[in-house]
Symmetry: C2
Subunit: 509 residues, 2 copies
Amino acid sequence: MAAAPVWSVDPRSGKRREQVAVEATDQEVDAVVRAAHAARGALADRAVRAAFLRAAADRLEAARDQLVEAADAETALGPVRLTGELARTCYQLRSLAGVVEEGAFLDVVIDHPDAAATPPVPDLRRIKVPLGVVAVYAASNFPFAFSVAGGDTASALAAGCPVVVKAHPGHPALSELVAHVVRAAGTRHGVPGSALGLVHGFDAGLELVRHPRVAAAGFTGSLGGGRALFDAAAARPVPVPFHGELGSLNPVLVTEDAAAERAEDIGTGLGASMTLGVGQFCVKPGLVLVPAGGSGDRLVKALTDAVSATEPGVLLDRRMRDAFLAGIAGRAALPDVESPVTPGAGGEHTVGAGFLTVPARRLAEEGVHDLLLEECFGPVTVLARYADEDEASAVLARLPGNLTATVHLSAREAAGEGRGADVLARLTPLAGRVLVDGWPTGVAVASAQHHGGPYPATTSTSTSVGGTAVERWLRPVVYQGVPEALLPPELHDANPLGLPRRCDGTLER
Amino acid sequence: MAAAPVWSVDPRSGKRREQVAVEATDQEVDAVVRAAHAARGALADRAVRAAFLRAAADRLEAARDQLVEAADAETALGPVRLTGELARTCYQLRSLAGVVEEGAFLDVVIDHPDAAATPPVPDLRRIKVPLGVVAVYAASNFPFAFSVAGGDTASALAAGCPVVVKAHPGHPALSELVAHVVRAAGTRHGVPGSALGLVHGFDAGLELVRHPRVAAAGFTGSLGGGRALFDAAAARPVPVPFHGELGSLNPVLVTEDAAAERAEDIGTGLGASMTLGVGQFCVKPGLVLVPAGGSGDRLVKALTDAVSATEPGVLLDRRMRDAFLAGIAGRAALPDVESPVTPGAGGEHTVGAGFLTVPARRLAEEGVHDLLLEECFGPVTVLARYADEDEASAVLARLPGNLTATVHLSAREAAGEGRGADVLARLTPLAGRVLVDGWPTGVAVASAQHHGGPYPATTSTSTSVGGTAVERWLRPVVYQGVPEALLPPELHDANPLGLPRRCDGTLER
């Protein structure tokens, strides 16, 4: 059987640009994983990892023009957005280098012997060690930040784990290019290219998560694909952690008071957020609870103006475009659903933004309108008009897990008067990030960031963005009664590396 | 259909003592879980949780005589061991109260806005929140420390999660008694009894892990039962974390130098460790790599003397006894396996300790001897006699994951000369706890403790013992742009509760 070709496709024309590679066979996946496993020793030293991550950032920046051009040719996301995304990716690599150097992620805990305890405590010294080879499934919508050199790869390398990336079919040429740049950075620091493997093909992706030498997986993508891989990871003879981001509706609640106070601002802000990147963000606000009366009508008017003024855009690929159009058609056909601005096909390869409205009571109980509670990728959002607080609360109570949940409050509510705290308490169980008076698009790379949430937002309690993303690829080991001569310096009493740690119960910094 | 009775059975006679309860129906499981979920608000306050945990310890101690008698009647573990285990359980409850009060487990991270970052950083404040109702599956072999008031329950309550325990059928009367005592402690602090549910029955246990209101599960038990529940947790429409401890061989390597230096001490120590609690510890050393020559023969002689002098003991129940005898028979019948002290039936309800030997080369490659690499619960261990270091390493490389891995070194090796560091590096990938010159039985309750390991030792990277056990029942939430008036005090700038935290990248204590 001939190897299946992997094509680079121009989303603006639907035409094939070039053949980039062939899909990996099972034997090839095996070879790539084994080579990555064999390279793990090269990542054992924290200083090497930090230097490698910084060098990767430097080289990606140096290749910026070439990379942005390659990314735009395959994703049509445009040079401005892609330049920003590449900068974010480099910032993330350097941030994680800092995390590696600080060493707090090692979670060192030392307990000296205590014969008086029940049972007696021997000498115990705990540290975290890398899990092994990490499989990373790249996303379509972030060709840099959630792909070959994205957060999953950067945090896994930071943890000391070799990586094998399953490239997204939407940008295979860029994937090869990024892998080449990162590998070149590694070579300068003694890290072989095999520490960052890259495979193409759907079947190769499934084979990857089943490989006995793969110790964990990170995924950003759709509910269907992510769940299939999650199931495969759980069904292995030796199950492995699968940290997947699978989908999110990102609900927004606009209180009656907030709408009365600044309906126009909120409507305009919503229009900008939901159409950003042609609506192709996992944190796009997909369901907005808006009051039913006059204030809500003003918000709808402002949103109508904002969305009507948005130019049609090119989606990432033909499959996305078909799914978007089908998703819109199914939703718009539901009873009581209206389309103040009808989303749909623009030109032959573009789509126009729009939004739907529905009475919130239609969503308060199970029924055909539950389709509106599923994510629809692309420039569309749903406004559910609620008659009173109970109706809004009933809809919130029915939502699946989300990456984000947002509330817009009036100044009085934000100051602690009225129902602000109550709303916040209702939103917290729904999501991993809760916003007041903001928009969920734009995920800052920061120590405190959490990009995750109850299923299906993510399949675990972890984050794929921020300093704590590294936690996913580690496991603790405690050494009992081990002489200092045999311990790594991280666990020596004198703390020669100056690590933050807990010693005999006390946190030391 | 009549409800299935739950009997308390005397393992010393095999006779039924009394009917304790009936197995829970699906409807009853549903009611217990919903009541637990409804009680979560009572656990929201950290001070209440700490007071509750301390009160539970006080009341369990006050009821010690009654509890130890009840436990001994159903487990035959004896009053000395059970008194110690109860003390350990109370110590653990109080330790976790301290963890709750300190608040480091909340992992508070605050980032103030930074417009210069790429992308800009808004005000972000991260904290951990409880997951929801936790299902706890009690163990047979630790009727206190890994059962109704054991580490899973204590750490879940510490995290703010209500608990529903699935009682172990080996000690149903004790389970009811312990639940009663803990609930009484809760009532004094405004925590309703429903915050600690208790159900009996195999089917009830499966129903429990499938219940939509159950948010996570903790399990200590067998590979078969644990894997079935793990699979059910993963197959849910909304999968939940399943933290299970499923089995461990706990390999021990005795170096040639160590055997030459102190074969008798090691043999005697091994005999004590493997027969402790009639060999019914999850950390019992089950496979010992011993050199083939004269030093190893001295070790075997010392072990023979120690094990021969051990009195027969009563196993936890008839099922365990049958499995032990069948396990021994299958192993002893393998080619080249010898039994210097034959383990097997003692009296009608007791078993005698023993051990088997096998040439290590029989374990170096896949074959019928792989049975010796599976855990055999009860007072037996397997000595694999190795001809050289390569043979020992070949066996280590074939082992599944373990809770512990141990090496006995000579004084010279322990001082860093010779192969000590190399052996430690080989053992670290095998286990969550690595010991030098000790025995794995005896799991200290301490900040640094890690009781877990690569599958099947545990199904996740977490621990069920020690201060970090609480991490399993939490998820992070980050608040973005939320006015201080609406934030919990844990996230206020002034840090009014004095929490350890990370602020703008810097660790604060």
